[in-house]
């Protein structure tokens, strides 16, 4: 499997002859560039065009995060897998109201499915699960616009996040979900995890012929790579939330792993490391795929979602979003 590399320390990425190194003072680590697919940079890292050009030759994507661990931006090398045909058809699905709504609905449907899946085994959250089911069954058939769909999704997400208080340690209770800025630990975790899933999804989209800026649930104008936001909806509950539950319920993350300043609550360096490790091992966890009769990692499932979208756009197979069956 092509690797994701996370750099949490400060230092310099440097190309020396045909090797890429990460240097921290006198310490120097060679990076196995052939097997790297993406590099996530959390620390304060210097790099020059010589290093960047070298990294691009290998089609490696760089994702940058700010001091608080929130996504800042990506460096995507010139794309090799370009198909004008696919992009034109992708755009047609955006322009056609019905077609767009269909895809937007699919993303929400899968997201809701995975939220319910997360609550299903938890006795403490039963009332919330029922509330979500009610809301969903009531609302899903009366949607005629993207904004109605967004509204329904928002209501469900509220109930979902409230339920966290029932089964997470008390230190991590949440009044409400707040995005910018997160001022308590649980919100900080969700934001951090969502940043990660966004950039990982972008990396997968980048490997395919999809255009990351043409989206369906989110407005293409909302963010530069809004298709990544769309697909992330599916994987936020499936990957990010389960990682958070595990880390908190096993007390691997405690309050000491968070720092606060005037406006923000965020993971400190140690906290980020713990989170990234668990997150990465989740991405690499495999599940037997029934059709493929092969093991597919969680990361692989993100890629498969991209493939399914391409098949939908080229008129091959109607898109049916992932609903984890295991």
């Amino acid at each position: 499997m092509q690797k994701s590399l996370y750099i949490t320390s400060n230092g310099r990425l440097r190309r020396h002859e045909n090797t890429l190194y990460f240097e921290m003072g006198a310490e120097k680590k060679a990076i196995d560039i052939e097997n790297v697919e993406q590099i996530h940079i959390f620390g304060e890292v210097d790099l020059n065009t010589k290093a960047l050009n070298y990294i691009s030759q290998y089609g490696i994507v760089l994702h940058f995060y700010n001091y608080y661990g929130f996504y800042a931006g990506s460096f995507l090398p010139r794309k090799k897998n370009v198909s004008g045909d696919v992009v034109v058809r992708q755009a047609l699905h955006y322009l056609d109201r019905e077609k767009r709504l269909f895809l937007a609905y699919c993303f929400v449907e899968s997201a809701v499915y995975h939220m319910m899946r997360n609550l299903r085994e938890r006795k403490e959250a039963e009332a919330y699960l029922i509330a979500i089911e009610d809301e969903w069954e009531k609302g899903r058939f009366n949607i005629s616009s993207i904004s109605e769909l967004m509204g329904l999704e928002g209501r469900i997400r509220n109930i979902y996040y409230q339920s966290f208080n029932q089964f997470l340690p008390e230190d991590f209770s949440m009044e409400k979900r707040e995005k910018r800025p997160p001022t308590n630990p649980i919100n900080a975790l969700i934001s951090f995890g969502n940043s990660l899933i966004y950039s990982h999804t972008l990396s997968q989209i980048y490997q395919t012929q999809l255009d990351p800026s043409i989206s369906f649930l989110h407005e293409p104008s909302e963010k530069r790579f809004s298709l990544s936001l769309d697909i992330s909806e599916i994987f936020k509950p499936l990957i990010v939330d389960t990682v958070i539950f595990k880390l908190l319920n096993n007390h691997q993350l405690e309050l000491e792993h968070f720092d606060e300043d005037l406006n923000y609550c965020y993971l400190n360096q140690e906290g980020k490391k713990i989170f990234l490790k668990e997150f990465q091992s989740k991405l690499e966890t495999t599940v037997r795929h029934r059709q493929l009769n092969r093991n597919v990692s969680y990361k692989g499932f993100i890629r498969l979602e991209c493939y399914k979208l391409i098949k939908h756009f080229i008129g091959d197979q109607v898109y049916s979003p992932l609903k984890a069956w295991w």
């Binding site: 198909s83 045909d85 696919v86 493929l292 890629r303 498969l304």
Partner: protein
């Protein structure tokens, strides 16, 4: 054959002929640039184009898909090196296409398939029947690749080792 663009077209056309016999869906996807080549494919293509761009003076040896060597200048033939004598129609047709292509350029050649393991070789000639078959194949490629949707996936033995496996079946 003097510029690399032409060579690239030649190569892509030959790949299409091969895919026509291997899997029509693969042909359609490839023709729309929906490809999932792995890194070694890319390296190979790069080397190919490089070699073609800087031809040696007398002989041009061009390695295609790791199995076919066109050795045009030295002894006037197209070679294919195969590791087993189980000749597949797809491979033969690919060579026939090169022969046909060269004939259009006014060059008559023959194809040689070498079996280094078995220490023997076979000579392929572009017969009128094969020429007809190549023309038919080119027509069929045109028909398939201008369709607006791809032929549906059909499970066959080669799917397992095909670069599109996860795309088609995932």
């Amino acid at each position: 054959m003097e510029n690399s663009q032409e060579f690239q077209d030649l190569k892509f056309q030959a790949i299409k002929i091969n895919y026509l016999y291997v899997c029509k869906r693969k042909l359609w996807l490839f023709s729309k640039n929906i490809t999932f080549e792995n890194k070694s494919d890319k390296v190979l293509l790069g080397r190919l184009l490089h070699e073609y761009s800087y031809p040696k003076e007398k002989s041009k040896e061009i390695l295609i898909d790791n199995i076919i060597t066109i050795d045009i200048m030295s002894d006037g033939s197209i070679r294919e090196v195969k590791y087993s004598s189980k000749m597949k129609e797809a491979d033969i047709m690919q060579v026939m296409y090169y022969l046909y292509y060269l004939k259009q350029k006014g060059v008559q050649k023959q194809g040689i398939i070498n079996y280094p393991k078995e220490k023997r070789k076979e000579v392929l000639k572009l017969t009128p029947e094969y020429e007809e078959k190549v023309k038919q194949a080119l027509k069929e490629i045109e028909e398939i690749t201008t369709k607006s949707i791809p032929p549906p996936a059909q499970k066959q033995k080669i799917c397992k080792s095909c670069a599109y496996f996860e795309f088609c079946w995932g």
